[in-house]
Assembly symmetry: C2
Homo-oligomer: 580 residues x 2
């Protein structure tokens, strides 16, 4: 492909809404262009990368007998009402009415659609197992789309759905999809981690995320320094290395004391001289989930943690069996529940459920807000002064915490979630009457799993992990082209002849060649070659050709070899091998 | 591929909403399944056919240097306001608000999106020409989806957009796309016609439709029996073979006469003894286009035709320079305009514009409604009794009319529009500021063309043209598989071995083989093989294998050869060659 024959325009400046390197680079390289917030047009180059990744996915899934179909983007409301996800999915599910006043949504996921597709077919145990997938456009009504394709509104996803006879079969399929995902991400040649994760409102009890490591990743991961343990911070068990020992086991008399203007844990730490690790903070949440529910009276609960810890809303959600993480109360609601402003509130005297993090279980004689503005209580003891509804692991784990599987420590990484495998059990089958007759002629619900890969997201995440200050460094497996020829003298017949011959020879060996034949200065061509980031670059002009000083450059290292004409192709092939 | 390894369930009965053979066959074969009206899931087989057709399109367009990109499905309102098509497209454009209350639509076509994509890039004459395409899901909010993928809501389309320096370049690109489309549809090996057509509200002055011929086609085509002339009836010039000669050139005095209960032309023909060809009928239309316009007072006009002719609303639209074909007045509106009920109305005394078909230009002393219920006028003459605003060709052409290019006659066909090429001129460039600097540094609008192929529609149209009472007869080029092996004894080791060997040998030659290895009776397998319709069938069981009576069948003709083991592969290859 010649540059002048395609549609590709690089930009000197990144757009102001691009916050992370991969987003900046995808726009600056001309690979994608914004139509509206969260909506991007993929240019010819980006499309090549996307298609290559799609084909990697297809090859690996087809090896395991998965079946590719294509389901609609637009779904009728009736379908989503069967599982009640029409209501549960929240505002991210884009809903609309058509001209006949029927309600539809844009599919954000396809569990309902795929069960509808198979439920009249899967009649007998002989019809199972099945593993069905599609690569389709998905839509999520993000309030604030950002990071380009990472948190866009419209994006491409591979979603697979498995149907098994029983749990044993379902977990076997889960395991084989897990391995297929490993093969897929291994082929990208990038750094990734497989972590334990939360199932969100998809449902299901076993789930792993595939996370490409990158500093700008939205997910915090914790990885053991001793074992294979790795988890999304959302679900990572928090295990203390330091166990707090109270100064005295005797419970002292409770006392109120004035704490004017001491509103934060940091204030209190300074004011009392007690470190945050030994202070207790109280947070207030709403247990109301369905905002459209008729009974909208506030159902509050409190969560107690050490002052040095952060609450983990996912753990709270899972403890309470909620569908979505709970919302914190507003200041007004806090006053309604406690009688005081946030900063002076505590658990004593409250009539709401109180959940406490394990970290404070053996606290004695501690300080909490007095539920009276400007006052705290000291020598407070749970059991005596207030009742804890339940102790549980409710805090965010953090770097340095103990590994749950060994005496190792947890190390912190940032990741971009590019794949997710879920074991769903019978959730959808039960709600949508997904049944088959077993060997004994008995009706049974089938067991499902679902498995997603963010196709466009992975392409951008690859760049987020693999770039330098000058541009993209494409992984070989999804590079739009393999070799970039900077053709410095497009009007010179000899150079033209050489470039054509090199391109032809490389292409005959399956190498995809891109030729910058624009009428531009060498400096512009070099900068753009770095920006576009194809694995190997060949630089050739009249001078270099005549002086046997043709440059062959590996994009990743920028290592330059200056070669004679007959050495160029072999060197390029060697570097491509090295770039794999 | 083995049947038991895929997800494919045939049906004995077609669904009640399937009216035409291709729709029935696609559902009965299990190739697609309805999620909701106009929304279909494509099974693995249909997807193979769709992908094959997509690749044919890509290969032929890429030959001409067209550039594939991918634009979003969801578009912001602001974009469509630039051309005012947000209002002009009518209710077929599905519009919605997102959670932030911004308005969007689902792309029914991508002129606006593609101009936005290129307009900041195409700065100089050096950047032109460009021809950009995508294969993308489109959405059209059909009131009554029907005919499966033919008039569905969600469908897949290839849409290309060309940008040229000037009209000469644009028409050259038009011509090369026309030829690419010929190559694409030639490769399907089906009967099609290229016809003159109306540009609809896409705009543009030159346009051709590619129509696959099929009895159930929604479009009426007229084709010359002498020349290459072919046109969609919407735009086909109507040229009389019989020219009406009035009995007398003298204009007789006008007379009102009673015509009780004579409301239709057929009534009047019977009542007066004058044939419909010599009667004049008056139709009333609204010139109001934009229903949202503030000035919604009725602007009516009348159209006069011979009683034996049908009005062509597209010709009326084009004569009046309207965006969409005009709506006929309601009975109430007719009374408001004429003072009489439909059936007794005519042109005399009206204060609205009157357009008349060329067919009545030399009429004299004719009968029209008197604008008084139960009365007509006779000896009416235009010029004397009322004024014709303009004579024009406003009737539907029909079989037997004169060929516009020769002394031949027109013959009627039904077609399914599968492709459409448009020359757009500067319409979109002017509205969206699509400019470049020419060689003299002067700012110019570029010239555009647009070119669509209904991908999913073509797949179904192919079946509509190519099937018999027993099932589909796939064209080789898009057949999901080439050879269908009815494996009658899946538990017999010898037959298994033979089937595997035949499949392997055929696959090594690039033939795609589907094996029916289900535990079903032979009769079921034969019926299903006919229904699925892959080009060549091999039938083999224990008996056939031992008796050298292995059947090789061409689906199209059902011609059966009974062969020895070592002849089967060659015969299959020969028949595949024949099926091309």
């Amino acid at each position: 492909m010649k540059w002048t024959k395609t549609h590709l325009y690089t930009l000197k400046e990144a757009p102001s809404d691009a916050e992370i390197p991969s987003h900046k680079l995808l726009v600056r390289s001309g690979f994608m262009k914004k139509l509206a917030p969260g909506l991007y047009t993929y240019g010819a180059m980006a499309l090549r990368a996307i298609r290559k990744f799609e084909n990697i996915i297809r090859e690996e899934l087809d090896k395991d007998g998965a079946i590719e179909i294509l389901m609609p983007v637009v779904h009728p409301k009736e379908l989503w009402m069967e599982t009640n996800r029409w209501n549960e999915m929240g505002a991210g599910l884009l809903k609309f009415k058509n001209r006949n006043n029927h309600e539809f949504c844009l599919g954000a996921t396809h569990e309902e659609a795929v069960v509808d597709y198979v439920r009249h077919d899967l009649k007998s145990y002989r019809d199972l197992p099945k593993n069905i997938y599609q690569i389709q456009t998905k839509y999520r009504d993000e309030i604030r789309p950002r990071f380009g394709l990472m948190r866009g509104r419209e994006f491409s996803m591979k979603d697979a759905y498995s149907f098994d006879l029983d749990q044993e079969g379902a977990l076997k399929t889960y395991d084989s999809m897990y391995k297929a995902y490993q093969r897929i991400f291994d082929r990208l040649g990038l750094q990734y981690r497989i972590v334990q994760a939360d199932a969100g409102n998809i449902g299901g009890s076993q789930t792993h995320e595939f996370q490409l490591l990158a500093d700008a990743g939205e997910d915090a991961l914790l990885v053991s320094d001793k074992t294979q343990f790795a988890a999304n911070i959302e679900v990572c068990p928090a295990i203390d290395v330091e166990v707090y020992q109270p100064a005295s086991q005797a419970e002292l008399p409770i006392e109120k004391f004035a704490t004017p203007h001491q509103k934060t844990i940091a204030d209190l730490e300074k004011f009392t001289g007690i470190r945050a690790f030994e202070l207790v903070k109280t947070l207030y949440f709403s247990a109301n989930e369905d905002v459209s529910a008729k009974d909208s009276s506030l159902k509050a609960f409190a969560v107690l943690l050490r002052g040095s810890d952060e609450v983990n809303p996912i753990k709270v959600k899972n403890l309470l069996g909620m569908t979505n993480p709970p919302q914190m109360l507003t200041d007004e609601e806090v006053r309604q529940v406690t009688g005081a402003n946030p900063g002076s509130c505590g658990p004593v005297g409250l009539k709401i459920p109180i959940y406490a993090d394990n970290g404070i279980q053996n606290f004695k004689n501690y300080i909490v807000g007095a539920n009276e503005d400007g006052f705290h209580l000291k020598n407070v003891n749970h059991g005596r002064d207030y009742q804890v509804t339940q102790f549980a692991d409710l805090r965010m784990a953090k770097e340095g915490d103990k590994c749950p599987e060994s005496d190792g420590r947890l190390k912190s990484y940032r990741g971009i979630e590019v794949g997710h495998v879920f074991y769903l059990g019978q959730k959808y089958a039960r709600k949508m009457n997904g049944v088959f007759l077993d060997k004994n002629g008995k009706s049974q619900f089938y067991e499902m799993g679902c498995y997603g890969i963010g196709v466009t997201r992975t392409v951008q995440a690859s760049i987020e992990q693999s770039h330098d200050q000058d541009g993209i460094i494409w992984p070989m497996a999804i590079a739009p082209y393999h070799v970039h020829i900077c053709h410095l003298d497009p009007k010179d017949a000899a150079v033209n002849g050489f470039v054509e011959a090199v391109a032809k020879e490389l292409e005959s060996k399956g190498v995809e060649v891109f030729i910058d034949d624009r009428d531009e200065r060498p400096g512009v061509k070099f900068k753009d070659a770095d920006l576009l980031g194809f694995p190997v670059r060949i630089v050739v002009g009249k001078k270099g050709l005549e002086g046997n000083q043709i440059e062959v450059v590996l994009r990743r290292t920028k290592e330059v070899s200056k070669l004679a004409q007959d050495q160029v192709v072999q060197k390029a092939l060697d570097l491509l091998e090295q770039a794999k």
